[in-house]
């Protein structure tokens, strides 16, 4: 019973960790890479895509 509780809580903790570290936290750039046969073809920089009103300079930096 003790062990079950431990396993369940650990599993929940791990799922919570994965969600955080894979989708949250500071990013260097937010990207989608579309690759064909292991050759990266299209590099969609989300920041570039979505921050069209900002200046080029600002696009390079990450604002928090």
């Amino acid at each position: 019973m003790e062990n079950d509780l431990y396993d369940v809580n650990k599993e929940i903790t791990i799922l919570d960790i994965l969600d955080r570290v894979l989708t949250k936290g500071v990013v260097i750039t937010g990207d989608i890479v579309i690759s064909v046969a292991d050759i990266d073809l299209i590099y969609v920089g989300l920041r570039v895509l979505l921050s069209s009103v900002e200046t080029m300079e600002k696009m390079k930096a990450i604002d928090l």
Partner: protein, 114 residues
């Protein structure tokens, strides 16, 4: 190595785990296309956008019905169009071997598209 971070939990642990598994992010953030699946890779992108528009249309239609401003003929047309659209979508998904879960894009900090 990982400490337990649960401070409080009440209710069914199994249900919580099940739901967390559902929203678990994929480990790879890439859309990988190989000669075998290049069709489905592109289809995935295109169908995702079509599905987004379809859902927006559907929602708008429901609002119009709620508003009560549609005529009998308009309702008839609307029902038929939306039904055909959804059926067509299902066909396309089958052709390219895609599920509803595939038809989404993670927009990073903006969350999921659908």
């Amino acid at each position: 190595m990982i400490d337990d971070k649960i401070l409080f939990r009440a209710g069914s642990a199994d249900e919580i785990i099940e739901e967390l598994e559902k929203i678990k992010p994929g480990i790879q953030g890439r859309i990988i296309a190989t000669p075998d699946n290049v069709d489905s890779g592109l289809a995935k992108l295109v169908l995702t956008l079509i599905e987004l528009i379809r859902k927006l249309m559907e929602k708008q239609a429901m609002r119009r019905i709620e508003g009560g401003s549609l005529t009998d003929d308009q309702i008839e047309n609307l029902g038929e169009t939306l039904m055909k659209l959804e059926n067509k979508m299902e066909e396309l998904k089958k052709i390219f071997n895609l599920t509803d879960k595939d038809l989404n894009l993670n927009l990073g900090p903006l969350g999921d598209l659908l």
